[in-house]
Symmetry: C2
Subunit: 189 residues, 2 copies
DNA sequence: GAAATCATTTGACAATTGTCACAAAATCAC
DNA sequence: GTGATTTTGTGACAATTGTCAAATGATTTC
C-alpha cells in the first residue's frame, strides 16, 4: 500500500482534517497485515503505536490473578489504543487481534508532537478520547441500571457480529457475569 | 472578585497555559458563590457552562424510574461538567452542590471556540477529558475485579473526606450496591 | 424545642449469581 | 480423520446481594 492510498484512508476516516494535516499524518502511518492472536499492546509494556482497524477485529482485556476480563471489542473503522499506553505509561490492558486483520499503525509520539502545533490533529485526538469516554460512561450506566440479561440483549442488538467473532467466555466477562450465568441467560431464549 | 484574581486562580489551576491564554480564558470565567443543593446541571436540559470548584463539593447522578445513582463526586480543585452538556446535548446527569460552594464558571461555547484557534486551550480540554476517562476506566476496573467491601475501603482510602460530605445512600449507589448492603459492610468493621 | 422529615441500621427472606464438577459440543493440530 | 484441546452447557449448592418492613437515629423546619 503506497502513501497516496494511506492518505485516502486517513481522509475518509477523519473527515475533519484538512489536506495538509492528512499529508503530515500519513508520514507517521503505515499499513499492516497481521495474523489472528497478534498482540498489538501487551500488559506492563510501553507502546509506541496506536491503530485503526481497516478490516478485522480486536479485544482488550485486563488480567488479575490469571483471570481475564474483557474491557472492549473493536471492529472495522475503530481505533485501538489504551489511555495509559497513549500517555507513555506501561499499559494495564492487553490488546489482541481476534482474526487476521488489516490495520493502519500510527506512531503515538509523532502524532502527539504533531498535536502540539497542528490544531486539527489536536482536535482529532480530542474527538477520539471523547468517544472513548462516552463509551465508558454508557458501559457504567448499563452496569448500574440494567440486569445482566438486558445488557446481553443490548450488546447483541448494537453489535450482532460480536457473536460470530468473540467467544462467549469473553462476552460474559465483558458483561460482568460468569460464563455459566451467560449460558443460562442464553438458554432462557 | 476581580479579573486579576480570577486570572491568578486560572494560572494556578492550569499551569500549562501561557500568559495570553490565561487572560483570554479569564474573559469567559466568572466567580460564583452558591448555596448547598443548587443544581449546576440538570437532566434533560442543555447547559452552557462548566465549573471549577474552588471551595465546596458536588455530586453527579443519573436517574431512572425515580432511582438515583451517583456517578461521581467532586471536591476542591476539580472540574464539574458532563460530557453530553459539554458537547451541546441535553445532559443525562444532574449535578448538585453538596454544600455552600465557591466556583469558577466557564462559558462552554466560548471556551470551545477558543480551543479552535488556541492550541493551549485545546490541550487543556484534552487533558480534562483524559483525566475523566482515566477515572471511568478505574471505576469499571474496580467493579469487575473488586468486591463491594474492597471498593468501599478503596474509596474511603483515597477520599476519606467523602464520609463527612456525602450521604451513605449516595456512596452506596456510587459503589454499585444497595444502602442496606453498604450498612452491613460498615458493620463488619 | 417539638414535629416532621430524612438517613441509617437491622432482620427475615427471596432472587441472583458465582463456584465447582462434569458432560457435551466444537475446534484445532497433526 | 482422529485424538487432543478448548469452549460451552448443565446441575447442585453456597454465597452475596437485593427487597421489604420496621425501628432507630439524625437533621431540618417552623
Amino acid at each position: 500500500m503506497n502513501k497516496t492510498e494511506i492518505q485516502e484512508i486517513i481522509k475518509s476516516h477523519f473527515p475533519t482534517l484538512n489536506k495538509d494535516s492528512v499529508i503530515i499524518l500519513s508520514k507517521y502511518a503505515s499499513f499492516l497485515n497481521l495474523k489472528k492472536r497478534t498482540e498489538l499492546i501487551s500488559e506492563r509494556k510501553r507502546h509506541h503505536n496506536f491503530y485503526l482497524i481497516l478490516k478485522g477485529s480486536a479485544k482488550a482485556y485486563y488480567t488479575k490473578e490469571s483471570k481475564e476480563v474483557c474491557s472492549w471489542f473493536a471492529f472495522e473503522n475503530e481505533i485501538v489504543a489504551t489511555i495509559r499506553a497513549f500517555n507513555g505509561l506501561p499499559s494495564n490492558e492487553t490488546i489482541v487481534l481476534l482474526e487476521d486483520s488489516k490495520l493502519l499503525q500510527f506512531k503515538t509520539e509523532s502524532i502527539k508532537e504533531l498535536a502540539n502545533t497542528n490544531i486539527d490533529v489536536s482536535h482529532l485526538l480530542n474527538y477520539i478520547i471523547t468517544e472513548h469516554a462516552v463509551f465508558l460512561e454508557e458501559k457504567l450506566y448499563q452496569l448500574q441500571f440494567m440486569s445482566s440479561e438486558e445488557r446481553y440483549k443490548a450488546l447483541i442488538n448494537v453489535a450482532p457480529e460480536i457473536l460470530q467473532k468473540v467467544s462467549l467466555t469473553d462476552i460474559a466477562s465483558y458483561l460482568g457475569v460468569s460464563r455459566e450465568t451467560l449460558s443460562r441467560i442464553r438458554r432462557n431464549k
